[in-house]
Symmetry: C2
Subunit: 375 residues, 2 copies
Amino acid sequence: MAEPRSHLIYAYREDEARRILSSAMDGRILSVYFIGSTETSTIPGVSVAGATPELTLYTPAVDVEYLFYGKPLTINQIPVTPEGIPTPALITRAAIKSSNIPFIVVDTGSYMKPRIPHVTLPSKMVGGRIDLGEALPYDVARSLFEEGRALARVFTPLTELMILGESIPGGTTTALGILVGLGYDAWGMVSSASPSNPHVLKEKIVKEGLERMGGPSVDPFEAVARLGDPVHVSMAGFLAGALEGDASIILGGGTQMAAVLAIVKHIGISLRGRVMIGTTRWLIEDDSSDLTGLVEMIQPDVPVVAYDIDFSKSPYEGLRYYERGYVKEGVGAGGTSIAAATIKGLTHERLLNAIYEEYERLRGDGIEVDEEDRG
Amino acid sequence: MAEPRSHLIYAYREDEARRILSSAMDGRILSVYFIGSTETSTIPGVSVAGATPELTLYTPAVDVEYLFYGKPLTINQIPVTPEGIPTPALITRAAIKSSNIPFIVVDTGSYMKPRIPHVTLPSKMVGGRIDLGEALPYDVARSLFEEGRALARVFTPLTELMILGESIPGGTTTALGILVGLGYDAWGMVSSASPSNPHVLKEKIVKEGLERMGGPSVDPFEAVARLGDPVHVSMAGFLAGALEGDASIILGGGTQMAAVLAIVKHIGISLRGRVMIGTTRWLIEDDSSDLTGLVEMIQPDVPVVAYDIDFSKSPYEGLRYYERGYVKEGVGAGGTSIAAATIKGLTHERLLNAIYEEYERLRGDGIEVDEEDRG
């Protein structure tokens, strides 16, 4: 194995993480990005993964259109926060393009169909507001798991490493729902794309759903159907299918990955020492959430690695905002960067330059922070 | 390279074919099945790839549902001819299952969405009747090509060999349309799933379209838009994308593959000695069509290999009908069998047994030939 890069932070179970990354050396990589929507993201204050609550419904499709073609198609701007901070897909695209990692998108229930070649799960469905009603019919939750599992079986024989990422605004709230719905005391532990993590609002939403559900369940499909969304259960199914083969898996994301781990745990699937979480420095340094705490609670053998990215010296204000707690992670940004660095040998300097080039290319597309917000 | 199996028939350019198959030895394989519909198949007499002309619209989705799950979902019967002869997907499934070849389905414009995880091309569209109007808008033909090409770039780094198959009832008629639309004298050369190849009807349909078009074009997208369908142009795009990498490609099909070769030729894409046609004995022994003649006319360097399959000793009458000229090829049956035999070492006996087991399992699902047709 190549000497570990200085730009990785081994946040939890370093030896295990090194072993998993080492096992994929010289292997073939595929990134798989799962997109879906939950109407929960339209509740004002829940998600900043879109310029307005309504635009969060467009974010998943536009994120992956941008990843695929380098420009959005469904609307004419890449996803931004209300302040204009650009989507982490910017980092993902820079990592993918600079290291030639092939990727495919899986639509589990995106409000808009992405205008790129992509995989459709036949049971795909936009998730409902979990405070007002069910997220998904129980059968749909179960089918998405099975369809994700069947899909993974196609790719497992072709790869040594798969990176699983997601784009679902409101996803930390539904991840909290899944965790609490399975009986975990995860209150206050999930992350947010906002520097002011709206824990109180998230907890109010999840508690309303939990009350209607009549308390936690041991059945992960019940927890997903009542308090979840289409993405996490589909990723869990894909993970289950991938574990039938020999590939290693990086769950590319933050605290939402704990929900994926909880689903497979409650189905009784062994991770066989081949699964790690790959995320960003912003996520593990976030004081408002606790990824490693969640992992210790749910699947304590799973390592957590972060890519040590820092935009404080970026020439672009929109990126410097990441250092103030905006965005943090998403669209597999951290996990993809880790794979690009370790398996493909992408240097930190080249990755940073590629991110800056992407940003530069997109200027004028409205991703600059508004003047009045400049600090 | 392993000793060539006795159950391959090297029909054209044997040395080239052996070299291509040899280059993929010990490599990773992916099968890609393209589905789509053309309303041309609903013209009575054009297609027997369905129990009735209307049911031909369901055949592509049901073929791949059966491939994926071993049973149809959209309707409760696998595709059959009006006489009850089962789809060649039976052979494809037996070959895939017995040799663990992973596969994925690409919807280019199926009348019904298949109820399996599958790739959607965003420009997918059911083709129009080519005798009455255009097949596709010109921009759609062009976009399907580009989307197929972009999709191939995902899989090329992961594989040494890709098998491309198709399911599109009416596909030999639209293949004739594409060939004639590009100026080839292909009249009377395309195959049919019927023992009585309806050349007169096909030619009448294509001539009506050709007349409206004002004669042949050198632009393959024009030929596809006027006289084609969504499948062949998408396959051509995928082939073009695959040729950007290092994988070899088996075009799994009969005379329709000539249309795919014609499209890439007219776009100016070099096949780089890495493309062969893989088909069935029934197809190359068919007196009513001329696959190698078409290849000599269009891309004379492309080898043609057939899998030497024979159902005359089958215990099942529905399969023995294949020996009377029914069905012949489809859903990549021949090409998939060739890859399974050469690359995966699947013996002929095991393939035959797997086909019989599939047939046995499906009995009672209505695939038996009607009593009055038994000869």
